[in-house]
Symmetry: C2
Subunit: 299 residues, 2 copies
C-alpha cells in the first residue's frame, strides 16, 4: 500500500511579491511525498549532494517518508532559483544548477520493487521509462512532465504516456502536447495517447479531470494569502495519489474526491515558502479545509 | 416582476479563430435581455440609428422583450469591431464607432419607472446614475462596468457602487479597482464600496460570488466548441438576474443558483456568433445544460 515517488530533491532560492527564501528544501519528490504521506506510506527515490543539510533529511524522516532510495552523491545538490510576478503565474527561472541531478540514474532499491503505486515526477521521460522497467508489475502508475520534455523528448514522453494510468499536466502543456486550443478537446486527445486518467491542472483556476466516461471540473481552493506557489502541482499530485491509494477503489467518485484532496493539499504548500506549512499539518487541518472547500463550492 | 436593462444595442464586426461575422446584432442590453427573458419579463432602454435592421427589432420582439424604451435616433447605430486570439481572452478592439450612442441620454418611459429590478449594463457611470435617479424606488439594482470607466470616471463609478445591490465585474477589473492582486481580498474590498453582492467573472475560469456572509466559487461550464465569446458577461448577468428575480428570495442558496444559471446561459452565447443560439433556445435546453453542469461539478 506504499507509493514510490521518483523525482527531485532540491535546494531552492525563490522570490515572490511576498518575500524570498534561499537554500530552502524543494524538489518535486519532496513536495509530492510530504503531501501523499498524510494518506499512505511513501518511499522516495532521489539524489542529493554531500552539501544537503542533515536537518532536511531529518524532516523527511520525521514525516515517515521512506528514504532508502535517497542517494547522497559526491558533489552539490540540485539548485533551482525562481521568481514569481504579482499574478503568481508561471515562475521565471533565474538559474538551474543540476549538479548531482545531471547524472541522476535512479536504481530502485530491491525493497521498493514491489511497490504497487508509482509516481514518476517531472524528470527526463527516458529516466521515467528506465524506472518503470525496474518495477515489478505496478498496479497504478502516474506521471508528470513539463514543457521542456514535450518539446525536446516528445517520442520518449509518448512512450511513457502509453505506460501510465494517470497523467498530470498543466493547461498550457496540455495545449502544447496536442496543438489544441480548447482544453476539453486537449484532455480528450491526451486520453488517446494512453493514460486512463488525465488531470489538467490550471493553478489558481482549478482542475479538469478526464477519464474514459467522465469529465470533472472544479475550481481551486482560493486563499487570501499566498506566499509561494512553488511545488503546488506536486503537492496536488501527492494529495490526489495519496487519497486514491488509501481508498484503493479507482472509481469515478474516488477520482473526483482525489482531485478535491489534491486541491486542498496544494493550499498548504502555497501558504508558506518551501514545504514548511505542509510538513507540520495534522489530519484535522486537512479535514477542516475539506469541509471549507465543500462549503465554498456546493449549490 | 420585470427587469429593466439600460445598455447598448449595437452592430458588431467580430473575428475569432473560428470565423468572422459582420453587421451582426450585438450590445450589452441585447445579450442581457435575450438571456434574462428566459426567466422573467425584460424591458430594454437603449438607442439605435436609423440604419438598424428591422429584422433585429423583430427578433427582440419575438423574444417578448419590451421595446418601448428603444429609441431610434437620426444617425448610425453604434458599431464595435473586435478580434479574439486563440486563447479567447480579452477581445482586441479594432474600432469603436459610437455614432448615436455618443449622445445616449436615456429617458426611462413612464411605464417602466416602477420596474423593481434594474440592470445598468456597462455604460458611462454618469449615465448609470442619471437612470437610477429616474427610477421609483427599485428593489434591486445591479450594474456592470469596464476598465475604461474605472480609470476615467472612478468617482462616478464609486457613487454608482454606493447605490447598487449587485456588482458584476471581471477579475482583472476587480484587481484594478482595488489595487489588490489577490481576488478574494479584492472581492471583499469591493463589498466595502457599497454593493451587497459582488460577482467576479473570470471567463472560462468561472465565477466567484461575494456577499456579506458568503463566498461561492464555481468553474465555468466548459464547451468543446466556442465560436465567439462576445456578450458572455452580459448573458451571464442576464441569467443570474433572471433566475434571481423569478425566484424573488435573495438568499444564499438562490444567489449561488443564480451564478450557475448565469454560467449556463453564457454557454449559449459563446456557441455561435451574435446571440444567434441564445435567441432560439427553449427552457428544456437550459434544463438539460443545468443538469450537465451539476454532473460535471459534483463530488
Amino acid at each position: 500500500m506504499s507509493i514510490l515517488v521518483i523525482g527531485s530533491v532540491a535546494l531552492d532560492k525563490i522570490k515572490t511579491p511576498y518575500g524570498e527564501s534561499n537554500e530552502t528544501l524543494g524538489g518535486s519528490a519532496t513536495y509530492f511525498s510530504t503531501s501523499a504521506v498524510n494518506f499512505c506510506p511513501v518511499n522516495l527515490v532521489a539524489v542529493v549532494g554531500e552539501d544537503f543539510p542533515k536537518k532536511h533529511i531529518q524532516l523527511l524522516k520525521d514525516r515517515n517518508i521512506g528514504l532508502e532510495g535517497l542517494t547522497v552523491q559526491k558533489g552539490k545538490t540540485f539548485r533551482w532559483e525562481g521568481e514569481y510576478g504579482c499574478d503568481f503565474c508561471d515562475a521565471k527561472t533565474i538559474a538551474t544548477h543540476l549538479n548531482v541531478f545531471a547524472q541522476f540514474n535512479p536504481v530502485v532499491p530491491d525493497t521498493y520493487l514491489n511497490n504497487k503505486y508509482v509516481f514518476l515526477a517531472n524528470i527526463d521521460p527516458e529516466i521515467q521509462l528506465k524506472v518503470l522497467k525496474q518495477m515489478n508489475k505496478p498496479k497504478l502508475v502516474a506521471c508528470d512532465t513539463m514543457n521542456y520534455w514535450i518539446e525536446s523528448k516528445r517520442n520518449h514522453l509518448m512512450k511513457v504516456l502509453k505506460n501510465v494510468d494517470i497523467f498530470f499536466v498543466n493547461g498550457s502543456e496540455a495545449k502544447q502536447l496536442t496543438s489544441e486550443i480548447n482544453l476539453i478537446k486537449a484532455g480528450k486527445e491526451i486520453l488517446k495517447f494512453g493514460p486512463k486518467v488525465v488531470v489538467v491542472k490550471k493553478g489558481e483556476h482549478g482542475v479538469i479531470l478526464f477519464s474514459k466516461n467522465d469529465i470533472f471540473v472544479t475550481p481551486a481552493f482560493l486563499l487570501e494569502s499566498i506566499s509561494d506557489p512553488t511545488g503546488a502541482g506536486d503537492t496536488f499530485a501527492g494529495g490526489f495519489m495519496g487519497y486514491l491509494v488509501k481508498n484503493r477503489l479507482f472509481n469515478k467518485t474516488n477520482l473526483r474526491n482525489a482531485v478535491i484532496h489534491g486541491c486542498v493539499m496544494a493550499t498548504f504548500a502555497v501558504e508558506d515558502f518551501s514545504p514548511k506549512r505542509l510538513t507540520c499539518i495534522k489530519i484535522t487541518d486537512i479535514t477542516q479545509r475539506l469541509n471549507k472547500f465543500k462549503k465554498f463550492t456546493e449549490f
